[in-house]
Symmetry: C2
Subunit: 336 residues, 2 copies
């Protein structure tokens, strides 16, 4: 089946076509750029929600509950679950997905797990393309669930409209996670497993830290402020298993959506996102060509090996290496 | 004071000089490349140990205990603590460091905290240079402590000789962390807070997963295997606060050191590391020039803006954008 048929079938709601298109994105298929160009006009309908936080915070069950609520309101939902891959944990990863099983039969819900391969921006790139494909398929909401707080995850979170950061009471997680850089990206904090000890303390701790943030001048970043208006990041307590508090979580997400739409922040974010996408694709392309250059160009190979052998500091050769690499890349780019 | 004096003073054990050189690395000072070239001949003495794992696992107290034991054996120690930065959590970060206070007065210990800024490989680059500078300063051991399991942290962990992954009993952390990709980089697992419920279960769960790993053919990667010999990743139970089990942890680290030295794996890793360092520096340089090109070149600016506005898919312009960017970079690199 050719690309146009695939896209038409996807637009017509055929899950198999959607799945195949996302697979193209996952393996960075040569046809992908064709696909992305063709779906470009259909982008922008879906509202994307990121759900991130430490491992074990219960993100999968929250995603599950949110999906249920969105379905009750007749919205279609696409879910991208980003699981770091390990040959030894496939089982555990699947374990999480099992909770989503009740949605597998629902044509209004499409679920895809993507695996992190620690590749140079590879997963982030694939996930971003998959989100666009889901958007083009006409889904109303796209939920993006990431494990951990790594650069890849942060990259992916920068491509969603609303970021919910999920924390759990124990292990001093709240403060630790703020240290892990989640404070800056959170549009909403969710304290999950709120039935456990210490939950109220963490909720109030978060609130006071956030209050401090809004009363400390200079700490309001562009993405938070809309003119004189400021989005005050709310803190919601939930129980992912029972679903308690998930209604309020969704209400806050919708409030945030209204806020960034009214303030023009949504459009601003999406522009930023498209710029960052483009530049990181370019950067990724260069990295690949660079690896190739090390193998194929003798001059480059020789310089690199002097550093590998420890004879030269990388700083000593980089001045010579850069122009050589650029020459090589230019010859390659002509064949693109 | 010029670079040569600074390096001489550092080599002579002057902490102020060492601190200033690391600061050059942190802000990617123009003089840095000069420094790195000059210290190149002095590299390779220090043995570097990475201590990583989920937030709240007690990595700082383990680092503290390890330092104490190494000092009792008269080894000098350099510590790089990588703290993701947030304007609101400086306090919390310092809180961790306080535990190290007893070492601050010890001239045989040098401690430096470095902050993550989510920069494009910026922190990883700075941390790697700082490790080299500590190496050149003559430290016997360098402990590198990272919070979280992000790409930056993984990059940094790839620059150390032995990686200790720290887990805690609660929150299903063990399995979750394996999902987060730590399985592959661990030379040693440490179950900290071993006095808590569930510690024995996690120790045995880890051991059985690891056993599975060694009995499943094809899962032994190059970095683990040395000829027919295989390093079987041990699991150690510790209590970071009391120091219980830390002696065994250090013993296992030394065993791993002997193993990778005998097998030639250490040299292999260090070569890989120098190669990756060089290529990522090159990549980082290109990314910076790329950002600059978007501002300064009208042609590039125009193409980028079509994507930013949503008029074109990034895939549609990248073919034109790449050669333009390479041209721009080439002109820039002449001024390097």
């Amino acid at each position: 089946m050719n690309i146009i048929e695939l896209i038409d079938n996807m637009r017509a709601g055929k899950e198999a076509a959607l799945a195949r298109l996302i697979s193209l994105a996952e393996r960075n298929d040569p046809q992908l750029s064709d696909v992305m160009q063709k779906i470009q006009p259909q982008l922008g309908h879906a509202y994307t929600i990121g759900i991130t936080g430490p491992p074990g915070a219960g993100k999968s069950s929250l995603t599950n509950q949110l999906t249920q609520q969105l379905r009750q309101q007749d919205y279609t939902v696409g879910i991208i679950a980003i699981d770091p891959s390990s040959p030894f944990t496939g089982g555990a990863v699947l374990g999480d997905r099992v909770r989503m099983e009740d949605h597998y039969l629902d044509p209004g819900v499409f679920i895809r797990s993507m695996a992190s391969r620690g590749s140079h921006g590879g997963l982030a790139r694939a996930a971003k393309d998959a989100i666009k494909i889901l958007d083009a398929s006409g889904k109303d909401f796209i939920l993006v669930e990431t494990v951990g707080v790594g650069q890849t995850e942060l990259d992916v979170m920068q491509t969603v409209d609303t970021v919910a950061v999920v924390l759990v009471p124990e292990g001093g997680d709240a403060i630790q996670m703020l240290k892990a850089g989640l404070m800056e990206i959170a549009d909403l904090f969710v304290v999950n497993k709120a039935d456990r000890d210490g939950a109220p303390q963490i909720v109030s701790a978060l609130k006071s830290i956030l209050h401090l943030k809004y009363t400390t001048s200079g700490n309001i970043t562009k993405r938070e402020s809309a003119g004189d208006d400021v989005w005050e990041v709310p803190v919601v307590a939930t129980q992912g298993i029972s679903g308690e508090g998930v209604g309020e979580m969704l209400a806050r997400i919708n409030k945030h959506r209204e806020f960034i739409q009214a303030s023009g922040e949504l459009e601003h974010r999406r522009k930023q996102r498209r710029r960052e996408d483009l530049l990181s694709q370019l950067q990724y392309l260069m990295r690949e060509t660079l690896e190739q250059a090390c193998k194929e160009s003798d001059d480059i190979h020789t310089l690199v090996n002097r550093v590998v052998a420890g004879d030269d500091a990388s700083h000593a050769v980089i001045g010579k290496l850069l122009p050589l690499t650029l020459d090589y890349m230019q010859n390659q780019s002509k064949n693109l």
